[in-house]
Amino acid sequence: MGAYTGRFLALACILIATSILSVLFIGRYATNPFHTTSDEMTLGIILRIRLPRVLTAMILGMALSVAGVTMQSAFKNPLVSPEILGVSQGAAFGAALAILFLPGDPLKMQLLSAIFGLLALLASYTISSAIKYGGRILRLVLAGLAVSATFSAGVGIMKFMADPLKQLPELTFWLLGGLSGVMWRNFLYMAPLATAAIAFLFVIRWRINLLVLDDDVIISLGTDPRKLRALVITIAVIATAAVTSVAGIIGWIGLTVPHICRKLFGAENSRVIPASIMLGALLMTIFDNIARAAAAGEIPLGIVTSLLGAILFVLFLSRGVPHE
């Protein structure tokens, strides 16, 4: 671990510095935090608009990243992302329902979105036990595909039914992902659940390693792999559903941050998980800064994340000597 301590500290310092700068300085409104008394708007913007938003972005990044690492270990597959069991599509469906039938209430939308995200998990598990083909993990993946597709179709129906002037733009924007309306109440509704889930996964980060081994070996090491897998998947999905309900569908981060962290810190989860938490927070803060401050209008965060995330990913992986 000593070999990586330097990198950890560096990452932590960059994260803290970036988050403070983001809140105090970065934004369309030129804020000088030392002049909070002469310009009343500065304090308001910093405390009421930027701070909740940056904090939400950080938790969003953390949640998706740690959920990504966890799911990749649970499914024994580094190509898995948190959306695999349909949680994103479920959350999208919940949001669509709220936009169409409970309009104007962002908190109810968050709630419905989170509920349906979790329902997707439940559905995936239930369907997977009904499938009579393949090993446990394959069954889960297949069930997840089915659930994802079903909710996706549901979202499509909602889009069709939506009023193109009033509801459809809102739904489309939600699906592209963004933090544009985030205020303290959105943050506070999501943060406790997401933070608890992240913290839980952090605490058992070493034990998650076990899931990478063959199930039989896991039993011989004294742990029930099905229970452990179900537990960590559920917690990871809770984290994902919580942040998706606020931010919409943000892809890419859950897949790539774990990869980058493995390259930087080695494959073992007790290093990858803390690193992913920090890197996820850092990247999402930067991406959201771009989304909200690069242009006079809001750029959907999902677009920024996918675009820049992809470029970053490729750049990162093409450095260094090919090995393994």
């Binding site: 500290l9 369309r28 708007m41 544009s180 943050f187 943060a191 242009a295 809001e298």
Partner: protein, 373 residues
């Protein structure tokens, strides 16, 4: 071990910051943030907006921003008040058309290329921001910063009457707001009263002909919509009332054939094809020859005075839907409304309500597309 401590510190910092900020939020009232100067003039106006909220706005109102989705109708209505020219800002570039450039020669200064974000809006220091009722999340954020927000709807006659009065107060011309509200409701009542009973009403199809990705779709408005209302008031039987749903309903040609409309009004919300082009297409299309409206030639392209995609069409909930109503009435019942001089009313609208000179009004009229008059 050291790493864990760092992580814990970061989490604790987050928790601490959020608690502090939460306290700040709880203990502050929107608007009181503006400690600064205690207003010299304590005068305020009070409006009740479309969401039923009472909003007190301090005078004077020097800057009004209209932005967000659905801002088009609001902008077109705002310009009906002469004072608007002086105070408007942050407008959408879709407003940039001949008509509105004539109404406001300084329009270019007021237009912004994109929908403004919260911070951009606060940079502009508006006294009040007018938003469509669906823009709650933006509005809530603005109010958190102490910026006044008024929501309007402008979807139908009822909301026009209410919101015109609200806008009248904001643009410092309550009397005009009242007058405009009366203008709309009186015309609607007048036309409606002259319309024949249902037995004598022709079947009218309001058709939104859309081409998406090479595919043609026929869409009709739902029962609660402005277009349906207009057809009904104008004395027609709106066929699309029978279609379910709240959005545009896509219907098949078979359904249209079954309806056998006597009159068809066409919109496309686009220049390719334009409503007039579609009209020509349908008149020549073999499949449509047996439809009563085609046989009698009563197919009409809805006029558009701005030529900016969906927005200038006289059926859209912008200010000129009332002109669309008059136009429709004359098309549906030319004999009943034979004394209605559309051109004259339109000219009056541009000169009296938008304050254009007669010459400018003529120029605007000259570029109206569709079957006008």
């Amino acid at each position: 071990m050291r790493k864990s401590i760092i992580v814990i510190i970061v989490f604790v910092l987050l928790a601490a910051i959020s608690s502090v900020a939460y306290y700040v939020w709880l203990s502050s009232i929107p608007g009181s943030i503006r400690s600064g100067e205690t207003s010299k003039s304590q005068e305020t106006i009070e409006v009740i907006d479309a969401l039923g909220r009472t909003v007190k706005i301090k005078m004077p109102i020097n800057r009004v921003i209209i932005t967000g989705k659905g801002s088009w109708p609001i902008m077109t209505v705002a310009y009906m008040f002469p004072n608007a020219k002086k105070v408007l800002y942050g407008l959408s570039s879709s407003l940039n058309s001949t008509l509105f450039r004539m109404i406001d020669p300084n329009l270019a200064d007021k237009i912004v290329p994109v929908e403004l974000s919260v911070e951009e809006i606060s940079k502009a220091k508006p006294d009040v921001v007018i938003l469509k009722t669906t823009m709650r999340s933006l509005g809530d954020q603005l109010e958190e910063l102490g910026i006044h927000v008024v929501y309007v709807d402008l979807e139908n006659l009822e909301s026009y009457v209410r919101d015109l009065r609200v806008l009248g107060k904001i643009f410092m011309d309550e009397r005009r707001g009242e007058g405009l509200a009366r203008y709309y409701s009186e015309w609607v009542n007048s036309i409606a009263s002259m319309a024949p009973p249902s037995a004598e009403r022709p079947k009218v199809l309001f058709l939104y002909y859309s081409v998406k990705g090479g595919e043609v779709a026929f869409n009709v408005p739902g029962s609660g919509w402005l277009q349906t209302f207009m057809v009904e008031v104008a004395g027609g039987y709106p066929l699309s009332k029978e279609a379910p749903g709240t959005g545009w309903n896509t219907v098949t040609f078979e359904q249209i054939a079954r309806w056998a409309p006597n009159i068809i009004f066409i919109v496309t919300y686009s220049n390719k094809p334009s409503p007039s082009e579609v009209k020509e297409r349908l008149l020549r299309d073999e499949m449509w020859t047996n439809i009563p409206a085609i046989r009698s030639g009563r197919v009409y392209a809805v006029p558009d005075d701005c030529n900016v995609a969906a927005l200038g069409s006289w059926d859209a909930p912008g200010s000129r839907w009332i002109l669309g109503l008059l136009w429709m009435a004359k098309k549906i019942h030319p004999s009943i409304f034979q004394d209605l001089d559309i051109k004259e009313e339109v000219e009056r609208f541009y000169t009296k309500i938008y304050g254009l000179s007669k010459a400018d009004a003529e120029k605007v009229i000259a570029q109206i597309t569709g079957d006008f008059p």
